[in-house]
Symmetry: C2
Subunit: 441 residues, 2 copies
């Protein structure tokens, strides 16, 4: 018989079905044996009655995470047995028979046990099956697709930026070295920035979902060695406000999509972000004034980011707040500075619940100005001549921004460590050596 | 005045507009000066009349690739001046004035000049602006999104596979080494295979758009050192035919979307692929019989792939053909072999116009069998214990496949070299050293 997915069982009430999935749990209640069956679309309760002796005996042998095929009849549950918090809480499958597709060894611990991060990741192929982890990555897939979808709707074209690059283009971040052909050294990209600017010259509005790499020896709760960056860049802007407007629309549409996962937010005791009102915009100096901290620092400290986010929520009912006009000296070399706005640049950060999740700017578009800026940062413009072609051959005023997928996910659900928002995170110690941690030796 | 995009000009006939873009070409016809203006959405002809003296004088100074803002009136063209092959061939902008946003240096060659691959890539920030290159990457963005969209519709969830891995999991391909933290060696992933199998354990149907890396010293027209792989994996299959059915649906939906770019196919003298009829399926031995070549070889040679594709087109009106049942020994270690089908595996390749663009299989799902297979290939199962957890804790029969985005794009348009289907390709010599080729020294 054709398989019925658990999400489709409501259409088959009173009928015989075949379902397939993992045994999420087995509970023996004397004569009745209950199985919670999990497939890719949901969870359903099945019950083995003593009257179906063969099925009853077979079910007695199965244990958690065994993979089975089951035949049964979909019944409506009696009113008083309905579980309102489950999509299938009003039905139950009366088991007629099962086939075992795959057995499982004894589990290292019960599937939904709360474990520390180290254990969570050491046993990732098992822990990824927990309700919590499935929630995180289900939401993450929605965020990513909503981000892309909003950019497409706003006229942006997707392209593939390289991960292997010839040098550390940003001239700052710690970079991983790769042994390339002929004993040459290549590097892993720390950003798709220079490539997306080149693409603006051809397509005007582009985005890329880039894999980027950071070799900083850092072990904070917000640091990853490999991450997913959602980058866009656009031509013909007046100033950074045009970029911020596109980004604000993207974020609002992403949040609207995230709202469809209200049940996930509820399970994490997290609120769906407030993003309906216009995001407040503060210059760095204005933010420092509000915080009553010295108006001289060139960037925000983590504590300042947290406090200004609290202010934005209280005063503007917004979980998002833009900070603009950072001093140019502290921003990436390609950041635009208008002559009458010096020493402040047209860069901005977007804070979400106290964490910077996005950084963006208007960029320099004039060739001579770009050459001068590269020189003024102690770098050799000749070494940028590939990139500089984009400016030499006519570049419009442009800008863009970059959002970290993992930080966005983590902040949405209030995860303590951004590593929880990566299925297979990389850090100073973790790289799945030979896909093995030799846990069982 | 608010900017009008070139694609929206038809709605503004008879009205004054502001357009912005690149000067694609300037043609002086005595008193009349024509400008072809290009923005991210299209191209339009503008004309400067001597009667608007100031605009006329300004337009005389601009050259190809200058970036300008122009004011003018949108006029319908007289019937006999209509160019049927252009979306804006029936309109023209009468120039009232221009502002120069960015000048361009003298170009290395005219923009749409046909150049060799070396020159094309050396001048990529400029050549990417050509009509041909914009066509290629416009189509590619559509292919990628259509691929994802079809998989989402078929119940697949997207996830992010790591590019940094602890070892060469496939135990075969040439691999790039990365200097990781604490003098450890990491590697660049040659496939997201093992990770997507792990994810099947949690989500049943998953896909990932993975950046993968191949360190083979190979310089063929089908080889890249960094590529984009569109990978999916699904649980609860009967055999590889279930995977092939999903893939065939994906390909058919991708081709249907590609059809919307009929004009691009026309410009490349390429036919939209034939994918409406069921894709023929041949075992390797059947294919060899048709080709009248020895039925002993364990794989297809490039010439055989070309000839069997010609057969499929002629006999089955299909640009796609599946080849199945390759000997297990020549396939990846995790490939499933049914006892009664030995020595043939449940792997398959999908050929598109003579080129393998996809490889897939049913995989081993039983833990003991997987351990045995790893050992039989001379590898140490202990070194796979992270991966093996997925099998130890209950894995359904599953399979999946992997399509190269660049090969698919190249084959659609009949590009001679797959590098033409990558905006910034990597090969043995090309890595954009410091984003510079020092072209001008």
């Amino acid at each position: 018989m054709e398989r019925t997915l658990i999400k489709d069982l409501h259409g088959r009430i009173g009928k015989e079905v075949t379902v397939k999935g993992w045994v999420d749990a087995r509970r023996d209640h004397g004569k009745l044996i209950f199985i919670e069956l999990r497939d890719g679309t949901g969870m359903v309760q099945m019950v083995a009655l003593p009257s179906h002796a063969e099925a009853h005996a077979a079910v007695e042998t199965v244990r958690a995470e065994w993979v089975i095929e089951a035949k049964g009849v979909v019944n409506k549950r009696p009113e008083k047995m309905i579980k309102a918090d489950s999509p299938t809480g009003d039905i139950e499958i009366e088991l007629l028979g099962i086939t075992i597709l795959s057995e499982a060894y004894e589990l290292p611990f019960e599937k939904d046990t709360v474990v520390n991060l180290e254990t969570l990741l050491n046993y990732r192929p098992f822990t990824i099956r927990s309700n919590r982890e499935r929630d995180i990555f289900t939401l993450q897939a929605t965020l990513l697709e909503a981000y892309r979808s909003s950019l497409r709707r706003q006229g942006f074209m997707e392209f593939q930026a390289p991960a292997l690059v010839g040098g550390d283009a940003e001239g700052g971040a710690a970079v991983f070295k790769v042994n390339y052909f002929y004993d040459k050294t290549a590097y892993l990209a720390t950003s798709p920035q220079l490539y997306k600017q080149i693409m603006v010259g051809a397509f005007e509005r582009v985005f890329t979902i880039a894999r980027i790499f950071r070799a900083e020896k850092s072990a904070t709760t917000r640091h990853l060695s490999e991450l997913t960056q959602m980058d866009f860049e656009m031509g013909f802007i007046d100033d950074e406000r045009d970029v911020m407007a596109v980004l604000e629309t993207v974020i609002r549409e992403v949040v609207a999509k995230a709202k469809e996962h209200a049940a996930i937010f509820a399970r994490f005791n997290a609120d769906v972000p407030k993003a309906d009102k216009p995001f407040p915009v503060l210059t760095l100096r204005e933010a420092q004034k509000i915080l009553a901290v010295p108006e001289s620092a060139d960037d925000m400290e983590p504590d300042h980011e947290r406090r200004i986010s609290e202010w934005a929520l209280k005063e503007h009912d917004s979980d998002f707040v833009f900070i603009t006009r950072f001093p140019t000296a502290g921003r990436a070399f390609y950041t635009y500075e208008a002559p009458n706005e010096a020493p402040y640049s047209r860069g901005f950060d977007l804070l979400f619940r106290g964490l910077e999740i996005n950084s963006g700017a208007q960029r320099i578009h004039n060739y001579e100005e770009m050459v001068k800026r590269i020189g003024s940062r102690g770098m050799d413009p000749k070494k940028f001549s590939f990139y500089l072609q984009a400016f030499k051959y006519g570049m419009p005023p442009h800008g863009g921004s970059s959002t970290g997928l993992e930080r966005l996910t983590a902040r949405m659900l209030g995860l303590a460590n951004v590593k929880e928002a990566v299925p297979f995170p990389r850090d100073m110690n973790r790289i799945d050596t030979l896909l093995s941690e030799n846990l069982d030796d």
